[in-house]
């Protein structure tokens, strides 16, 4: 079987890129600019309309799921190296990536269910 490491690393890299490039935009917009009144906040109807669009749903899914895999990879190696738990190699890997998968499933379900 081909080792899956390169694939997991790709998810890690992609998630990290998204977290580094897109998260700040969302944080500044919805965390600072809108509440502080620097920009006029979009109305509920406008946002709802935006979120219902298939492209936005896909965008939300990608922006949520890939950083989850970034987290899984980083947390896994943190447990190995910082807490010296390398002997639990398989268990930790399964738990971390399962958590990311579960989070992705919840995100997919939620995004899908937006009426």
């Amino acid at each position: 079987m081909r080792p899956i490491t390169p694939f997991l690393w790709t998810l890690f890299g992609a998630g990290g890129t998204i977290a580094a490039l897109l998260f700040p935009v969302h944080l500044v917009l919805s965390g600072l600019a809108f509440p502080l009144g620097a920009l006029e906040a979009p109305s509920y109807d406008v946002l709802y309309g935006l979120v219902r669009h298939p492209v936005t749903r896909l965008y939300l899914l990608v922006v949520i799921t890939l950083p989850l895999f970034h987290w899984a990879h980083r947390f896994r190696y943190t447990l190995y190296d910082v807490l010296q738990l390398k002997h639990l190699y398989r268990l930790i890997a399964v738990l971390c990536y399962s958590a990311a998968l579960l989070g992705s499933a919840v995100a997919a379900y939620t995004v899908w269910r937006i009426p």
């Binding site: 081909r2 390169p6 690393w9």
Partner: protein
């Protein structure tokens, strides 16, 4: 300017001691002296039994790497004046077995270096009569920084992953593999990728980046490893494609 500075130097004489200990020496301070000069002063004037490796005194040979105040340094480039008022702790390179005093066993590194085949490999050598393999300045630029490595092993001593996992093939070996992969005359990139993709290869790296920080020749091993990971990842996805190599 102080008249002298104190050095706390690791002593380990396996026939006398079971554990390395620190011994202090008072050395005259001169502002143009580096730690290696101080060690040579100790050897010449205070204690001829002190053992350490050195050769060129000018950052080319890569022999005199040691831990200076806990950081991996070429002692020929570590000025005493940067460590005042002292004492200056001089210890053998981290994570390597100590043979004697400041001398470490580099067998592991030599083995790893050889494993990545850091030389030009060609499927077919052209006959001498056909002349040399020409290279443009751009082609040289591709790998030049990685070719500056002097095998001083400071990057291994700085790498926490190597500290935890001694089987990790390590920064310098991977950077040198990439040096040959990027050389237009070389044809063995795939062969090296297979070697580096093994369990103890590049995927062990968690991109701490200390290797690049401590490199005295400004090689960027961390960068080389990330480049290779990308190549490895692209290669991984290629097999999913119908026209993929495997």
């Amino acid at each position: 300017m102080p008249p002298s500075v104190t050095l706390a130097v690791t002593r380990y004489r396996p026939e006398q001691e079971s554990e390395p200990t620190l011994q202090t020496y008072e050395v005259p301070f001169r502002k143009d002296w580096v730690v290696l000069d101080a060690l040579n002063y100790i050897k010449d004037n205070l204690d001829g039994s002190l053992s350490f490796r050195w050769s060129c005194r000018m950052g080319v040979c890569g022999s005199c790497g040691m831990m200076v105040n806990g950081s991996p340094k070429l002692t020929c480039a570590a000025f005493l004046s940067d460590y005042l008022p002292g004492p200056i702790r001089v210890e053998p390179l981290n994570y390597f077995p100590i043979i004697r005093d400041l001398v470490v066993d580099m067998t592991d590194f030599m083995h790893k270096l050889k494993k990545v085949k850091p030389w030009i490999i060609r499927a077919q050598e052209k006959p001498l009569a056909d002349g040399e393999y020409l290279q443009t300045p751009d082609q040289l630029e591709m790998y030049k920084q990685f070719s500056m490595c002097i095998n001083c092993m400071l990057c291994y001593s700085a790498c926490p992953v190597y500290g935890l996992e001694q089987s990790f093939i390590g920064p310098a070996a991977i950077a040198l593999a990439q040096r040959y992969n990027l050389d237009s005359r070389d044809e063995a990139a795939r062969e090296r990728l297979e070697i580096l993709s093994e369990h103890d290869g590049m995927w062990q790296c968690t991109f701490v980046g200390e290797c690049s920080k401590v490199c005295p020749k400004n090689v960027d091993p961390a960068g080389a490893i990330q480049q290779l990971k990308l190549v490895g990842a692209v290669d991984w996805f290629r097999f999913l494609l119908p026209w993929g190599t495997r």
